[in-house]
């Protein structure tokens, strides 16, 4: 142990073995997946342009700090909570880079949030002030995604329909910015509506 090169070699071998075994091997075996089918039947579903911009906003705001995007079947109760119908698999994520699987659930999982909450207006209200849509939530408000401006003429058709108690002063309206709308579009796009045969789910288990 008195020689630097010996320690270097030892550390090099250990880190390289770990790298080869736990990263290179699984990636070469299962990290070259291709989408199945094409057009509307493509698995996974292709994301639209607006949603792709919202994806960038999702990353910029650090949403991944509190929200995962992975549905577990073997443990937890993600499926009972209605967060998905089946275990998510690597194939579901092949179009996503960087991927937002996340490591903490301070808020709910968002893999299928577009299926649970299919109304963009709900999401916009929720971004503007989470207390409107889910009272008691610990989620911060994102007023910077909205513009408060005086109503001119009939007012904007995109203005938020703020409920009693959250309304801004008379003569003003709150209009979502492009980022807010893109983020809402991204939320709506988050739904897995195709099946993968290998993915475990409660139904498949009951058939066996």
């Amino acid at each position: 142990m008195n020689r630097g090169p010996f320690i270097f070699l030892g550390v090099f071998v250990i880190v390289s073995l770990s790298w080869a075994l736990t990263l290179v091997k699984p990636i070469s075996e299962g990290g070259q997946l291709r989408p199945v089918g094409s057009g509307d039947a493509r698995v996974p579903t292709v994301m639209t342009g607006g949603a792709a911009l919202g994806r960038e906003t999702y990353q910029e705001l650090g949403c991944v700090v509190c929200h995962t995007q992975q549905v577990r079947f073997a443990a937890g109760n993600d499926i009972a909570r209605g967060w998905g119908d089946r275990q998510t698999l690597p194939l579901d994520y092949i179009d996503q880079s960087p991927v937002f699987t996340g490591a903490f659930r301070i808020g709910p999982d968002l893999t299928n949030v577009g299926a649970r909450r299919d109304d963009a207006a709900w999401h916009l209200l929720h971004f503007y002030n989470p207390q409107i849509a889910s009272p008691g939530s610990n989620m911060p408000a994102y007023p910077q995604l909205f513009e408060k401006r005086p109503i001119v003429g009939e007012g904007s058709s995109r203005a938020l329909d703020l409920p009693e108690g959250f309304a801004v002063q008379e003569g003003y309206e709150v209009v979502p910015t492009r980022k807010a709308e893109a983020l809402a579009a991204y939320m709506l796009s988050l739904k897995i509506q195709y099946d993968i045969e290998e993915a475990p789910s409660p139904e498949k288990l009951s058939l066996k």
Partner: protein, 493 residues
């Protein structure tokens, strides 16, 4: 063997000069003084920033409207900023300052090229500033401790190479052919960081792996950053400080080799345990679980070595300011490691996955084990580097208790919050808002912990700058101020 060592050391006459031991040490310290001091200054600054960001993120966890008007301080940005500053700002600077100084001392002669260390250290801190600003303006990337934007990462890597090369040169220039365990860990930390950071940057960002495999690489990196980089830096400091402050051999020193290799081997995969049940190849997560459990072997060896050494000189722990930080660090290491070992098993993970348990545990490991070891190291190094006495042992005493209490309260409250939250989140169908609301009290306690932690950091900064800026007394001007610490690291036990 001793004959050969003596023969080798006789080849370097500078060691055999007429000066006293203390004068020789002064020469060694002088060769690294500017760079080491600069790195410690940076670590104090980043500790303050990290404590403040930690406090803000902790408050935001239970009171989301706090500071809501500043969009750059939303939880999604402050939280990664806190962790990155804690690790790359505080722990890396503090750890590298300790190990650079220790490397020079163990080399046994003045080390040149300190300009390399100064430039690389400056560049590192510039990169951390760039990375922090990048996160706050929204250029962050979604992987833990890899959040620094793409324009900060290369500078961070290159500047680490500079510091690593200096450490290698210091090792190469050593006057004693034999090595001490601290030097193994220093080398391991340097080699590992270069490797894992390069692999993570290439496989996630430059040539991105497909989909979920980016998360596999990120988990691997995260586990290795704390296990193969921060932990070895802290081990290097502990193995040096225990003999020096207690005048006590490391008990069972001969077992260090087994502990070293098994720790490296097991930690190199243990981060993957976080992937269980997710959309990842199941066997990869299983390798992580097994590796985490294998940590039990090195942890028990470390436990026997450190605890026996501390116990056999127990009465001296409270005589030395550094030694009590070392004692805290050892206890924090043992508790955190055992929680890692048992928390990674599939049973506990079913409850604890995705909760604040992981944050509390990681904070205990990084700040309690790493941070407290480096603080003890800095209280050992500063008087020798500056040839001044510590300004106020009372202040440092209070700082120790406040900082220690802060780390304990944060870790304990987040770990309990995690188990209570996990029982509702993973074990019931209670609404997520209600599940989180039920553990809100723990988050308030964590905030209290961060208040303690910040107060401790402020006291640390005060005693550091007090010492730095005070003028030397007559007594301090003589070189004989310090009793030389025992040379225990060279004698086989």
């Amino acid at each position: 063997m001793r004959f050969i060592c003596n023969l080798c050391s006789s080849l370097f006459p500078s060691l055999e000069g007429g000066g006293s031991q203390r004068e020789r040490e002064l020469g060694i310290d002088a060769s690294t003084r500017f760079a080491t001091l600069g790195t410690i200054k940076a670590s104090v600054f980043w500790l303050l920033v990290a404590s403040l960001l930690g406090l803000i993120s902790s408050i935001k966890l239970h009171s989301p409207s706090y500071l809501a008007e500043f969009s750059c301080l939303s939880y999604g940005k402050v939280y990664p900023a806190f962790w990155n500053v804690l690790v790359y700002g505080w722990l890396f600077n503090a750890g590298l300052a300790c190990v650079c100084w220790i490397s020079a001392r163990l080399a046994g002669r003045p080390i040149g090229n300190s300009y390399l260390l100064t430039i690389a250290g400056g560049a590192w801190n510039f990169a951390v500033i760039v990375g922090l600003v990048g996160i706050l303006v929204g250029d962050q990337r979604p992987f833990r401790l890899l959040e620094f934007p793409s324009y900060a990462a290369p500078l961070l890597f290159v500047s680490f190479l500079g510091m690593g090369i200096w450490i290698l040169l210091a090792f190469k220039a050593r006057a004693y052919r034999s090595t001490f365990v601290s030097q193994w860990y220093v080398l391991a930390a340097v080699f590992s960081f270069v490797w894992i950071y390069m692999i993570a940057q290439v496989m996630i960002f430059l040539v991105p792996a497909q989909g979920v495999f980016q998360s596999v690489v990120a988990s691997w990196f995260f586990g290795n950053l704390s296990g193969l980089v921060i932990a070895p830096l802290a081990f290097a400091t502990l193995y040096y400080l225990i003999p020096k402050t207690l005048g006590q051999h490391i008990v069972g020193y001969r077992q260090s080799g087994i502990a070293f290799w098994t720790w490296l081997a097991a930690s190199s995969c243990s981060g993957l345990a976080a992937l269980v049940n997710g959309p990842f190849p199941a066997w990869v997560a299983s390798v992580g679980v097994i590796a985490s459990f294998a940590l039990f072997l090195p942890v028990s060896i470390f436990g026997m070595q450190f605890v026996s050494s501390l116990l056999s000189s127990f009465s001296k722990i409270w005589d030395s300011l550094s030694a009590r930080f070392v004692a805290y660090s050892v206890v924090a290491f043992l508790v955190a490691s055992l929680l890692i070992v048992f928390g990674s098993l599939r049973g506990p993970q079913e409850t604890l996955q995705f909760t604040q348990f992981e944050n509390g545990l990681r904070f205990l490991f990084l700040a309690g084990f790493g941070g407290m070891a480096f603080m003890g190291g800095s209280y050992f190094i500063l008087p020798r580097l500056l040839n001044k006495e510590l300004p106020s042992s009372g202040l440092i005493d209070v700082q120790f208790w406040i900082q220690g209490l802060g780390i304990f309260v944060i870790a304990a409250s987040l770990i309990s919050a995690g188990s209570a939250h996990g029982a509702l989140l993973n074990g019931s169908e209670v609404d997520t808002v209600q599940a989180l609301a039920s553990v809100q009290p723990y988050f308030f306690i964590a905030t209290l912990g961060f208040v303690f932690f910040l107060s401790g950091s402020l006291m640390y900064a005060v005693s550091f700058f007090w010492m730095l800026l005070s003028s030397r007394s007559e007594k301090e001007k003589s070189a004989e101020l310090l009793k030389s610490a025992p040379e225990l690291e060279y004698t086989p036990s």
